[in-house]
């Protein structure tokens, strides 16, 4: 009786443990997405500040991206914002201080609000950044709303500048591009090398040589990414700098090379498995007809293993997309929208790693980084599900 119960308890414990991975995945989803989604709907304005214009102006709301352009004076005429043709007059507290006399402002700036009020009401072309508490019932200007973060602004924004004042920029396009071009470059390097190695190991090399190579390839997978990053920083980066006469060697190319090396073991192991799973009968059938070994490999063996090789490629890309430290160390981390491999780029994981330490917990920047995490999670999850789907359809596993 007691024995039965104790057995039941033990099996119960095992069962609970087996839920660990599922629970973790669910928890990851909950925590990642609760922070990430709350990023949407927040306003990227500096805490405690508002934008204000003259009441004659019709502008009601403005996108963060346009707003930044106004402050950078890339946009300097109201007509560019769909208003009347007149120059935009930017003012903030510093400018007000130069425009009004010291008495008007007060020795401790206690009348700054009156000055703002005065200036905004008198100048039609004004575009002011001012403390929120100056907006009282007496205020004669009109407050312009900054549009909330949305999926569209997040995905389409061309600038990532989370500490920009007064309007932070959270466009992931440069990060997405950076991630994609670095990963693409990595796979272009890793695929030919990895496939060649897999073919050599599975089809050409003698058993003994294969037995030596296999653990070496595994070792390549075991080297920590920070060591790859270090190696890249010390060897690859200076090499690229001198080879291409660049000012800085930290480039997308450096990231691609290092990530390519890091993706090799994934590609080699999985495609070698796929090649070795090709039934020997296929090879014999081809060879018995007088095909050479190479003809057999590329006309029969590789097509037969093609879905496994695709899986290997996809997983290799997945590994490259998610890799953090090595990329952080060698790509220079400038958020450029570029296709130039000789320019610094910044990837999504590297951004999270570089900025999370400085982002105040719970703030908009912090949440934006979690939103990046969500995107990363979704990408890798789809890759996994795809691979799982494909391998199930093939009936292996």
């Amino acid at each position: 009786m007691f024995k039965k119960l104790s057995q039941k308890v033990q099996v119960g414990v095992l069962a609970i443990c087996s839920l660990a991975t599922s629970i973790t995945v669910i928890l990851i989803i909950i925590f990642l997405f609760s922070e990430g989604i709350s990023f949407l709907g927040m306003k990227p304005t500096e805490e405690g500040y508002v934008l204000a214009v003259n009441t004659k102006n019709n502008l009601n709301s403005i996108s963060p991206e346009l707003c930044k352009k106004v402050f950078d004076q890339e946009v300097d005429n109201w007509s560019q914002l769909g208003e009347k043709d007149m120059p935009i007059e930017l003012v903030n507290s510093d400018q007000i201080a130069t425009l009004y006399s010291e008495e008007a402002i007060g020795s401790e700036m206690e009348y700054l609000d009156t000055c703002y009020n005065d200036y905004v009401s008198k100048h039609v072309g004004v575009f002011a950044v001012m403390p929120k508490n100056y907006v009282t019932s007496k205020f004669k200007g009109r407050v312009v709303e900054v549009q909330e973060n949305s999926i569209a602004s997040f995905v389409r924004g061309r600038e990532w500048f989370p500490t920009a004042k007064p309007i932070a920029q959270f466009g992931i396009l440069p990060l997405l591009m950076g991630t994609l071009i670095v990963s693409l470059g990595a796979i272009l390097i890793a695929l030919p090398l990895g496939l060649a190695c897999a073919i050599y190991m599975s089809e050409i090399a003698k058993k003994r040589r294969r037995k030596i190579m296999k653990p070496l390839v595994e070792l390549l997978a075991g080297i920590p990414s920070v060591v790859y990053g270090f190696f890249g920083l010390i060897v690859i980066v200076p090499l690229i700098q001198t080879l291409f006469h660049l000012d800085v060697g930290e480039t997308a190319l450096a990231g691609s090379i290092i990530l390519g090396i890091m993706a090799l073991p994934t590609i080699i192991t999985i495609s070698e498995d796929a090649l070795r799973n090709v039934p020997n009968a296929m090879r014999e059938a081809s060879l018995a007809m007088g095909a050479t070994k190479w003809q057999t490999i590329y006309k029969v063996v590789i097509p037969y293993a093609s879905s496994g090789i695709t899986t290997a490629t996809v997983l290799g890309i997945g590994r490259a997309i998610g890799e953090t430290m090595a990329v952080l160390m060698v790509t220079g981390n400038a958020a450029n929208v570029t296709l130039n491999y000789l320019k610094p780029v910044r990837t999504i994981p590297a951004t999270i790693a570089a900025e999370l330490g400085e982002a105040p917990s719970g703030g908009i920047h912090f949440k934006a980084l979690f939103a990046l995490g969500c995107i990363l999670f979704l990408i890798t999850m789809s890759i996994n599900l795809y691979v799982n789907f494909v391998s199930k359809r093939r009936g292996v596993k």
Partner: protein
């Protein structure tokens, strides 16, 4: 061109490319070994960092990494093994088992920086562990879980069913059979999983960035709730953001060498165990 000539050319190209892959491995390891070996001495391993980490040793980073290995394995190994046992021995083939495996695969595929985010949100912020060895160990433990579950499952699967049937035939219960017959046979391979997980955990940087790692903390940790230095993060700091990166290079090479040595030993050990018990 004759097919056979073509084959000769292609095969030589393939061979050269494969050797390049192996050459890259030796290049990386050899480079770090040659540059790092001169730095390594007893003082390097046993002293605190001094003078803005340009002198002295890396003892706190080594101890920190050992704490993280210990902490994460203490958490992940039992849960992982139990999970592997349950999935492989108790679940029937079917959607539930497939789902469990899919979840394990999914967890394994999540990038390590996402683990960092998650560890920070859950352990550091929500559970209020703060930046601590506890939070770091739990984060790394979760990351190591799939490795351990997979190897456990594989180890159990490679146990011949004859052994199980022999035990059942003698009237033993399922649990008893697993404990007394299956596990002892599978143990060496399960240990392989543990070792591989240790190798993995000791080199991970992204998950500890925001859960435990301290930039400079020249003392040994006294409790689970303290921050700690760790080898991979220390290497990152030395290589990218020290006070004087040029002068810190020798220290960085030394740290990298220690890190690689740990990984090499783990790999070697795992392969040895695998090879030894495969023959039997």
């Amino acid at each position: 061109m004759k097919a056979i000539t073509k084959q000769k050319i292609v095969f030589s190209i393939l061979k050269v490319m494969s050797f390049m892959v192996i050459a890259i491995l030796f290049l990386i390891i050899g480079f770090i070994f040659i540059k790092g070996i001169g730095v390594i001495n007893w003082g390097f391993i046993s002293k605190m960092p001094e003078e803005g980490m340009l002198k002295g040793g890396i003892l706190p980073a080594i101890v920190g990494t050992l704490c993280l290995i210990g902490g994460s394995m203490l958490f992940a190994f039992p849960i992982g093994v139990c999970s592997g046992i349950y999935i492989n021995e108790f679940l029937k083939d079917g959607p539930l088992k497939r789902f469990m495996r899919l979840m394990t695969d999914n967890l394994a595929g999540i990038p390590s920086i996402v683990f960092g985010l998650f560890g920070m949100a859950l352990f550091v912020n929500k559970l209020k562990f703060g930046d601590s060895i506890l939070a770091g160990s739990l984060t790394l433990g979760i990351l190591a879980l799939p490795v351990i579950i997979r190897t456990t499952e594989e180890a159990l699967r490679s146990v011949d069913d004859l052994h199980r049937q022999a035990s059942y035939a003698l009237g033993a219960s399922k649990l008893y059979t697993i404990k007394k017959v299956v596990l002892p046979i599978a143990l060496p391979n399960i240990i392989t999983g543990l070792i591989l997980a240790i190798g993995r955990v000791s080199g991970e940087t992204a998950p500890i960035l925001f859960t435990v790692a301290a930039y400079f903390l020249p003392k040994l940790p006294h409790s689970l709730f303290e921050q700690a230095m760790a080898l991979p993060y220390h290497l990152y700091v030395l290589a990218t953001s020290g006070t004087d990166i040029e002068k810190a290079k020798p220290m960085a090479f030394g740290t990298a060498l220690i890190l690689i040595t740990i990984v090499l030993i783990c790999n070697l050990l795992a392969n040895l165990i695998r090879a030894k018990f495969k023959k039997k």
